[in-house]
Symmetry: C2
Subunit: 705 residues, 2 copies
């Protein structure tokens, strides 16, 4: 899964070009063609900078050239700040000049109707034909704070040229991307690379993200998108970031119906089911942010670069009430809040008899009169409690008489525990906050926000620590037939793919059915087999619970009679004989195609659970066994598998194996599988496996691709 040549070229040419030209360069630094030039000059970009403007001899003090081909030296990167009508010709000229990448600010493309979309299609075609990479059109640009390349006209930079930091940001929306950058700046977070992709005629958010995941200087990635077109590339980017230990926090909007509609009127991006995005983020360890604050809080928390692989939390408070509130919020976030070991509790009790030493540890406002209480307490919680993260609530820490002694006490208490997340919930002036931060503590005002961010960091750590990588699946050698397959053929194909299906025999006449039943064991079920009949119940094509030879003979005759009456034209291949199966939990396994991410495996309990309660979990295929187990435990109805209402626990391990096999099958047939359903798949008690009682496969015609 190495990065492609094209992506590498994008990364090098867009973020680290040797030379830059500006088409439509303006002398006025507040105009769209003047602003980037002015920023680049102010930031001191090291390579040659060429303004291109046929109407002026100089622009902002530099020699101007009438066209890109008139520029004397080679040009790596071009900023296109021209009216839409001039863009295609200009971009062709750039390609002819050997330019490696352009960013196109111009609007008036796909967002403006069909003619614009056609022009944008031409831009994409130029990029594919020439290998020159294109960012935009209709985007706010890109910057690299490390080398002074500020190829953007966002007014947000008017408040000062950014200093490089650990964050890389990629956003479809320019205005929202600027807003995010500005929030980072206010929070003191350095953004190194900033990429807005706009209409994405060539470079997408996924590719921008992949570039940042590969970039050695980027440590944290923040992304915003309304829709993604290249799901596989996005997953590659996520997996690359995970392997490189880089947290990704993603704001994917259009979650709601009204939001999705607003998104589609705003850009022309493909929708894709929001549930599938949710699944992909979860599956690849990406944090899906729901609010902008949360996104920035998490970016802030990553400055510590500590990602515990566990999620046990210690809570310290000077207010019992705040302790309870934090315990609730920690529980909401899925933290474990285990009590301190008894000996540690005894030590705390000895220090302060009226402390609550369990966890939350309430050291009361007495802590402020007795600062060694704070340091000893932190030491005990981190050392003996062994918590992955500790959050301490001290309410207001204003005034140096409190702030400095508390800081010294905290510093002493956390020394030697640099591998833990230490956060404070305090209200304090900025200088105090900075001082605490410089000692390795994260500072939040609101404790709930602190816990959301800390939990995200622990989830990153858990994801980084995972060894359960996606299996490599080769495309299948043969194609599935491009049609709906009957139960027997569907089961045979799935059985060959390693899925457990109920044994069956095909009987051409009643006596063959009796013989088959005798071999399989009574009671049995008879089902009509016909390529023309998919819904067997509707035509009276099923008889269940047949307990002896006579019942089988009668059932066989009844089925044929009914089917011939109701569907006289149907081709009948015979009647299937299968054993009656029962004693287990009925589940449903399925595969659906997502337009963005490809085959997605679905799991649920079937019936009303799936149809009415929509209690299903999804995973993009393929996936490993640990992922399958997480998938099973995600549904609300999992209790039924764990042995609710007096039933024995079901064989969840066998179910996980079946899900993995189905994921591999779906991935191998990504191109030619339309849908697939095993319904029901009966999960038997532990140790007894699971088995599909019925199955339906639908192949996909090559024309549909």
């Amino acid at each position: 899964m190495a990065i492609s040549e094209r992506s590498r070229a994008f990364l090098d040419s867009v973020l680290n070009p040797g030379s830059v030209a500006v088409l439509g360069a303006s002398d006025n630094p507040s105009r769209i063609g003047g602003r980037p030039l002015s920023y680049i000059l102010e930031a001191g970009f090291q390579g040659p900078v060429y303004p291109v403007n046929p109407n002026r001899p100089t622009v902002q003090g530099l020699t101007a050239y009438p066209s890109i081909d008139a520029v004397p030296g080679p040009v790596d990167f071009v900023i296109v700040a021209l009216p839409a009508a001039q863009v295609i010709e200009a971009v062709e000229a750039c390609a002819a000049k050997g330019v490696k990448a352009c960013v196109i600010f111009s609007s008036g493309f796909a967002e403006m109707g069909e003619a614009g979309a056609a022009a944008q299609g031409q831009l994409g075609e130029i990029a594919r034909r020439t290998g020159m990479r294109l960012l935009g059109p209709n985007c706010l640009g890109v910057f690299n704070a490390a080398n002074g390349l500020f190829a953007t006209f966002t007014t947000t930079l008017d408040r000062g040229i950014p200093k490089p930091g650990h964050i890389g940001m990629v956003s479809q929306s320019g205005a929202y991307g600027s807003h995010l950058y500005y929030l980072c700046r206010l929070k003191g977070l350095g953004v190194r690379s900033w990429i807005t992709t706009g209409n994405e005629c060539d470079v997408s958010v996924a590719e921008g993200l992949l570039a940042l995941a590969e970039d050695d200087h980027t440590e944290t990635i923040i992304a915003y998108a309304e829709g993604v077109t290249d799901g596989p590339l996005l997953m590659q980017a996520f997996e690359t970031a995970r392997r490189n230990g880089k947290p990704v926090a993603f704001m994917k909007v259009g979650r709601s119906a009204v939001g999705a509609e607003a998104a589609s009127s705003h850009t022309a991006a493909l929708a894709g089911a929001d549930r599938v995005y949710d699944t992909v983020f979860r599956q690849f360890g990406v944090h899906r942010a729901r609010t902008t604050e949360e996104l920035i809080d998490i970016a802030y928390a990553t400055t510590k670069k500590v990602y515990p692989a566990g999620h046990s939390l210690g809570l310290v408070t000077i207010s019992g009430g705040a302790g309870v509130l934090m315990a609730d919020a920690a529980s909401d976030q899925g933290f474990e809040v285990p009590p301190l070991p008894e000996p540690a509790q005894a030590k705390l009790k000895a220090l302060l008899p009226y402390a609550s030493p369990r966890n939350p540890v309430d050291i009361t406002a007495q802590a402020f009169n007795q600062m060694d209480l704070v340091s000893r307490n932190m030491e005990i919680m981190l050392g003996e409690g062994g918590y992955d993260a500790v959050l301490a609530f001290f309410t207001s820490v204003a005034g140096s008489t409190l702030a400095e002694p508390l800081r010294a006490a905290m510093r002493e208490g956390i020394r030697g525990f640099e591998d833990r997340l230490i956060a404070l919930s305090i209200i304090a002036p900025e200088a105090v906050v900075k001082a605490y931060e410089s000692d390795g503590m994260l500072v939040f005002e609101d404790p709930t926000r602190a816990l959301v961010a800390l939990r995200a960091l622990c989830r990153f750590g858990e994801s980084f620590a995972r060894r359960d990588e996606r299996p490599a699946v080769e495309p299948a050698a043969g194609r599935l037939p491009a049609e709906a397959l009957d139960e027997r053929r569907s089961k045979a194909i799935l059985e060959a793919a390693g899925l457990p299906v109920l044994a069956d025999r095909l009987a051409a006449d009643a006596e063959a059915a009796v013989a088959a039943a005798g071999a399989l064991g009574y009671p049995v079920v008879l089902k009509i087999v016909s390529p023309d009949i998919l819904h067997k119940t509707e035509v009276g094509g099923i008889r269940v619970g047949l307990g002896d030879a006579e019942a089988v003979r009668r059932g066989f005759a009844e089925i044929l009679e009914s089917v011939r009456a109701k569907r006289p034209e149907a081709r009948i291949e015979g009647v299937m004989v299968v054993p009656m199966a029962g004693g287990g939990v009925e589940t449903i396994l399925g595969v659906q195609r997502d337009p963005v991410f490809g085959p997605v495996v679905l799991f649920g309990l079937g019936g009303i659970f799936t149809e009415v309660l929509e209690d299903v979990s999804l995973r993009v295929a393929p996936f490993g066994r640990e992922e399958a187990l997480r998938m099973i435990h995600e549904i609300r109805g999992v209790k039924l598998l764990q042995g609710a209402r007096g039933a024995p626990p079901a064989d969840i391990g066998a179910l996980a194996d079946a899900l993995v096999a189905l994921g591999r099958f779906a991935a191998a047939h990504a191109g030619d599988l339309e849908t697939c359903e095993l319904n029901p798949l009966l999960v038997r008690p532990e140790g007894q496996g699971c088995v599909a009682l019925d199955a339906l496969l639908v192949g996909r015609s090559p024309a549909a691709e």
Copy 2:
């Protein structure tokens, strides 16, 4: 539901006393007995203030008295800042002096084990015996910013004496209450009354809340509690606040298992099921805050005093991306985001051809170059869109060149729409924020936080507008038997209470059963009737689907044989004959006792829905029909009642009537009903009503009360 004499006395004496004494008054203003005196003097409390200290002639410049009875004039209110051991004697002396209320700062009571709890019990007994009201012990005190009564030792007031405002606050936790107060202060919100209740030997959070709900000067109420002991009083307080149009935002902690445990170790408050608290808040229109920020945001938003009874939302943005994000967040909050009417969209399109005029309305950054766009857009959205609330996202509004023109444009656009909620999501300096606020706009940085607060205000408005008040239910004249009642007796009692139950006949012998079956119509069900048998299935006491006289005779004999074999000692009253009922959705209705709030009605779909998925909704009894309908629509499985999977819609109206009847019955028997269950209650297709097929009532012995 008028306020009681005792509560009135509390309100008058605690918040508006004519004179104040301080027991344990100290010269040192940083000590617990010095701090309130110093605050009161600084704030200029108008009545006489008497320090009591046997060891000093003066305290903080005032004449000190050796004991409370040595004080020359009458004393309304006393601050007790004494060691725990001296409290009881002092409080007795206060009562003898005719003091109306005391606040007891002292710790060392119920929070410190059994001896402390006993002493606290004595304090409660003094309050009940003498009528003198007691706040605390172990509390941080109380203040009324309007009259200078600062009977508290919270250090938070060191940062300045509060100015009165519209907020009343009541908190069990002193430290967290101080923290909340401080956050209000930072946000510029005035807190008029602040009450901390600590261990609650007499005055509880509920009573404090009731006082604030009655207080003419309090407009918004914020509360914090870990546990409530007097549920009915709390509900009275909520209902009073609702009737008086006062929003209540409540932080009830101990939601999670670990939080509840921390709460019980912190105070000795009764737990009460958290789901029931949730229910009570929802039922009485109280906003349950999950985070401190949310609590303060909502308090802030109430400064506008606009509570729309609807919840349609208009969204304005200069960034399409932010528009989508807000649409998602609005959807999460349950806002409707309907599109602007077509003519209004056409007007906007004429103003700015590349605007997205639907809703969210994207007026793009062009708005900043063309401010009339902002005012015309607001005018159109409020006038023609008719939205209850509008949120506008302008990202950063720094610098007066932007802030002032935008403010003027907004002011013009919203003129005449003072009944709507207008909020901005902007990043701006405090002075800019204040200026916008002074023009009637709410200002938030984060749009999601704005939407949470706006939605809370709309919910308040919806609750204020409700006419569906709780029915008044008199206690029932007769007591239920203090035992588990068999199905026939249970059904008879419930039928008398107006609940639909399946007709039945009691048959003493087989021929009587046949006659009954003939009268009721075949097929029928037979069930054993015995006061000693509650679980009829276990003893073979039920036969279903009996289609003719012969089957009834055989069934009768089989039941008697089986029951006599399995439970030879059981008294048999006969066999019930009931018609076979089917064709509808099976539900379960129940009543459970909550230790805090009394009888709670439960509704669900029964079976796995109730047991495995816990898909039930609750309401405290009694309640009206609208509330019953809300209760039905709260469960996830409601789709099954609305006609999922091809079934006809069920008679939800009849179901609501049954729930109301059950609520009235439960309320009338609040003292003598232990539990009750109608399981199943079959809800038939629309217009055909519902009927309980089985029922079980358990009466409560008077000793258990």
